[in-house]
């Protein structure tokens, strides 16, 4: 009798450990993963096709649906691409408002991810906290933009309307609250022995390969590169704001425990980024000038965007979000191609680093790479 050694295992799409509606097909021998394959396509809506059918302005509500946890980066990148082609310079106040909105979205997405990583390692309280705390941010978003999740607030030419009068107090209140919560997260997650044991040196993205594999964002910074698009090619008001980019091995108050971008370092970087984001929002609120928030252009719905190619990218909580926009001078785009950060993280990187992992470490690795399927398949 021969004993079958290798088994196939399907994680997802209906699986709490899968990161959203996607699935992984893994081959295991004993407890070790031999080979992994990412299966996507469950969320394909054909955005890029639909965008070719709609006029430039109608595309704003579409693009935000490409990344559900952090929709604003899409609006920002798309708007920047249109502004780029049009040759517009948006008002100063709008830049600051964009910065505030984008950073709030980043905090929300990071809270979800950190909670998710911890939950996948058995600390379910963290997921409850992360989602719960993010909800207070959503309340502020609702006050500012009118919607909880999809804000459609950043438009080509600026932002849709000015912040409400009490925005400053609202935002400051939430930031104060979050700041008071962060030490608790540290106690719960980062200083938790269970977490440290299971997260350190697991799911490592090697430093020498990270750039070549197309790793971006916090995952790249965890591997030891100080690359951040907010610094390299500042958009919105990031060039006027003074902030630090946390990267390995400068982990601030967290211990350096391992080498390369493992689950622990990736989580630590995200926690540090939340602190930086709070700092950025505070500063932006303080420095924000008065004035218009949107360019006064007639006929919003009859734009003809000059022919050309544009590529704009923003630093999202997951990595580089890029928009490649082609126009032929018409009322509708010829092609919009979105580069989602999960495209490389979720497919090539995960498939390459998965062999050798334990089955139980597979889901945390995927979540800590912040794989989010809608930006893979659009």
């Amino acid at each position: 009798m021969t004993i079958q050694k290798e088994f196939e295992l399907f994680i997802g799409p209906n699986h709490p450990g899968a990161t959203g509606n996607m699935s992984y097909h893994i081959w295991v021998e004993g407890d070790k993963v031999k080979k992994a394959e990412t299966r996507v396509g469950y969320l394909h809506r054909g955005f890029e096709k639909l965008m070719e059918k709609r006029i430039w302005m109608q595309n704003v509500p579409l693009v935000c649906r490409i990344c559900v946890p952090e929709p604003d980066v899409n609006e920002a990148a798309y708007s920047m691409a249109v502004e780029d082609l049009m040759g517009w310079e948006i008002p100063e106040r709008a830049k600051y408002i964009r910065t505030i909105i984008l950073e709030m979205a980043r905090i929300g997405a990071h809270l979800l991810t950190v909670g998710g990583i911890a939950a996948s390692l058995g600390i379910y309280t963290a997921a409850q906290w992360g989602v719960g705390d993010r909800d207070y941010l959503l309340d502020v978003f609702e006050e500012i933009t009118g919607a909880r999740v999809y804000h459609i607030y950043i438009w080509p030419g600026g932002v849709r309307w000015d912040l409400p009068k009490n925005a400053k107090e609202l935002i400051t209140k939430v930031l104060d609250y979050l700041e008071s919560r962060l030490p608790l997260y540290d106690d719960l997650i980062m200083n938790n022995k269970v977490f440290v044991r299971r997260a350190a040196d697991v799911g490592v993205v090697p430093k020498d390969k990270a750039v070549e594999w197309g790793v971006t964002g916090p995952n790249l910074r965890a591997a030891g590169y100080e690359y951040d698009i907010r610094k390299l090619e500042p958009y919105a008001a990031y060039d006027k704001i003074d902030f630090e980019v946390p990267y390995y091995p400068k982990l601030g108050e967290y211990e350096v425990l391992s080498e390369g971008s493992d689950i622990y370092t990736r989580t630590a970087i995200r926690m540090l980024e939340i602190q930086q984001s709070i700092k950025i929002i505070r500063q932006a609120l303080k420095d924000m000038p008065e004035g218009d928030v949107i360019l006064k252009h007639p006929q919003w719905f009859a734009w003809k965007v000059p022919a050309g190619y544009a590529y704009t990218h923003v630093e999202s909580s997951k990595g580089e979000f890029g928009y490649f926009v082609v126009s032929d001078g018409g009322k509708k785009p010829v092609r919009v191609h979105v580069r989602g950060p999960s495209y490389t993280h979720g497919i090539n990187v995960l498939e390459t680093i998965a062999p050798g992992l334990n089955i139980a470490d597979f889901a945390p690795t995927a979540i800590s790479l912040d794989v989010c399927p809608p930006d893979i398949e659009r």
Binding site: P16, R45, K49
Partner: protein
């Protein structure tokens, strides 16, 4: 106890402990974590997320369904035990929502599986979701949530539509009739 009273009692009992299948099918799934966790806390309705379809009673179809997902949704739905209830979440399940002209999303969920309650809105708020739960309880109480019975009754019609969608062709219908003859 006679049959009628018995099923009434069963309904009263079952509505108090509905378990929801944990399957995030579309972007509406983003409002599920707040509902499931501490802030809105659906556990106070006796609802809880469940990973396996065999122990779940409610299927929240959270938003648009790509055809590829529809296959999985049908599988999951068929694995669930009777009585089972479906909540269509967001305008995408009603008429396609903003993807009305997309080549890969099904437009009307009720053509493929029976839906008991719909929630309108493009990303319905948590309050709306909880309201739909209450409405579902009410319907179960009155014996109106009979989607699962419809699925048995019109099984061949649902299957026909599902097969059409899976193959992206309308003419697949013929084959199915031949199938039935065998």
């Amino acid at each position: 106890m006679n049959h009628e009273n018995w099923s009434k009692l069963a309904r009263i009992m079952s509505k108090r402990s509905l378990w929801m299948i944990h399957f995030c099918t579309g972007c509406g799934a983003m409002e599920m974590p707040p509902v499931m966790t501490s802030r809105y806390d659906m556990e106070r309705f006796g609802m809880h997320a469940m990973a396996t379809p065999r122990q779940a009673d409610v299927f929240l179809v959270t938003g648009y369904l790509a055809v590829k997902t529809l296959k999985r949704v049908v599988q999951v739905y068929e694995q669930m035990r009777d009585p089972k209830y479906v909540i269509g979440f967001g305008s995408c399940t009603i008429n396609g929502g903003m993807y009305w002209d997309s080549y890969n999303t099904i437009k009307d969920l009720s053509k493929y599986i029976p839906v008991d309650v719909y929630i309108a809105g493009c990303m319905p708020r948590p309050e709306a979701i909880m309201d739909s739960f209450l409405k579902l309880f009410d319907m179960i109480d009155k014996g109106e949530a009979i989607g699962w019975q419809k699925y048995h009754k019109y099984y061949d019609q649902y299957k026909r539509n599902q097969r059409m969608a899976f193959s992206y062709r309308l003419d697949e219908v013929k084959d199915i009739k031949e199938d039935d003859k065998e």
